[in-house]
């Protein structure tokens, strides 16, 4: 039969406890009972209505020493002492309930709301740069609203600033803040500022209210949270679209310079006018370029056509000249030949031809019998003659 030793079992149990993250660096709230301080360490039981756990605090001199019956918040880890097989909670820090529990509760709420997405950056709306109408949810009696108005007016006398008066601490404050956010959200303001001056953690607690977080998250108007001093960080700051470190910083966010805005608008108009003028000028240049290109093309065509025509004319002239010269040559030759064959020319060279009286040319001496009257024709005239032999 197999078995484990107590040492092995307890070591195993210790490892199991050591490995469980849920049991380490946790905050534990309960009532102290049977506290005993010995050699700088404290040993007590922490209990609530249903359960109890043994607790140790080693180095109690550096810690708060609670009394029996006091409710405290411990920060530490669960530890298993394997030598004795005992389970205990090792407290590194002991805080009395007042602030400790409050902080713990707030931390838990913050974590839960964060997990639920209430602080997601993706949900945050952008803040208008030039709000016309702003509503500040704060106390009308506090210095805060005066600071905001004075800071804003130093630069801008244009933005409407409305104040929605609420309690900023104490009982009923959170409910008033929620109702104010819901109401103002429907009034069409460009921006809502939730503002409060500095205060204790207790005084600022209404700004950590879960319903307020949900009201701010659900609002459609952009919301700036300006609660407390720079070092105070409330859930209202975390859920708001923008957190301003102080109310004065919130005023700087909305205080745009109206004159600068006018100048900017004029600049934009100037750019547009300049741009359209330049486009028109570009248009004219393009048209002018196109026209000059068309002119150039036309001129080139005309020049080419003229040149072609001149070539053709010149060719034609050459061929006509050739033809004329050729014919002139032939004519001269013909004339020369003709001249050579011209009977008159023969006569001029001293030849004569003979005809009878009737002018019939006699081509043979046989036609010239003795006594026949003939006519001798020459170039310069004719004479009658009679054949004598």
């Amino acid at each position: 039969m197999e078995y484990l030793s107590v040492t092995v079992l307890n070591s195993y149990i210790k490892n199991v406890f050591a490995a469980e993250e849920m049991l380490h660096d946790i905050q534990l709230c309960g009532e102290v009972s049977g506290i005993r301080v010995s050699g700088g360490n404290a040993f007590f039981t922490l209990k609530d209505e249903n359960a109890a756990i043994q607790c140790n605090c080693f180095g109690i001199r550096n810690n708060y020493v609670p009394k029996d019956g006091e409710t405290v918040v411990l920060f530490g880890s669960v530890d298993y002492w394997h030598k004795a097989g005992k389970l205990s909670f090792n407290a590194l820090r002991i805080t009395p309930l007042g602030e400790g529990a409050l902080a713990l509760k707030l931390e838990m709420l913050k974590n839960r709301l964060r997990e639920q997405g209430y602080f997601d950056e993706s949900h945050k709306k952008s803040i208008p740069k030039y709000p016309a109408k702003v509503c500040v949810i704060t106390s009308k009696a506090g210095a805060v609203i005066r600071d905001i108005v004075t800071t804003c007016r130093a630069k801008n006398t244009a933005t409407d600033i409305a104040v929605f008066d609420v309690k900023v601490q104490g009982e009923g404050c959170a409910a008033q803040l929620c109702a104010a956010v819901d109401t103002v959200d429907k009034l069409g303001y460009d921006l809502i500022i939730i503002a409060r001056g500095g205060g204790s953690q207790q005084e600022l607690m209404p700004f950590n209210d879960e319903s307020l977080v949900k009201a701010i998250y659900g609002a459609s108007t952009p919301i700036v949270s300006a609660v407390g001093h720079e070092t105070d960080y409330t859930l209202c700051d975390m859920v708001a679209d923008v957190r301003a470190a102080t109310p004065t910083a919130a005023a700087h966010l909305i205080a745009f310079d109206l004159k600068e805005l006018y100048v900017y608008l004029e600049e934009l108009r100037g750019i547009m006018t300049q741009s359209i003028k330049s486009r028109i000028a570009d248009g004219y240049s393009e048209i002018s370029l196109a026209l000059s290109r068309m002119n150039m093309i036309a001129e080139n065509r005309i020049t080419a056509a003229q040149s072609m025509l001149e070539h053709r004319l010149s060719d034609a002239r050459v061929s006509i000249n050739n033809a004329v010269n050729d014919r002139a040559l032939r004519l001269h030759k013909a004339i020369a030949s003709l001249n050579a064959l011209n009977p008159s020319a023969m006569l001029e060279r001293g030849y004569f031809y003979i005809t009878d009286k009737e002018g019939v040319r006699l081509k043979s001496v046989k036609q010239m019998d003795k006594g026949k009257e003939i006519v001798i024709n020459g170039s310069d005239g004719k004479v009658d003659a009679t054949i004598t032999g």
């Binding site: 210095a143 409305a162 109401t183």
Partner: protein, 73 residues
Amino acid sequence: MQFEEKLKKLEDLVSIMEDKNTSIDDAFKHFDSGIKLSEECLKMLEEYKGKLTLLTRQLDGIKEEGLELGSDN
């Protein structure tokens, strides 16, 4: 449209007009819309009054009244 949206739209139109790839026809259209938008923006700015008011919840709704802030409280 809120002032902010109009201004943004105006800025977008200016960017488009400055883009050389925008056709001249489109540039003219944007110019007309841009001038109209800028006039609307200027008109909206003139309507900024700088009022300081106190809102209080009444039975029949929200009451708005003038608010004077003391120099000290």
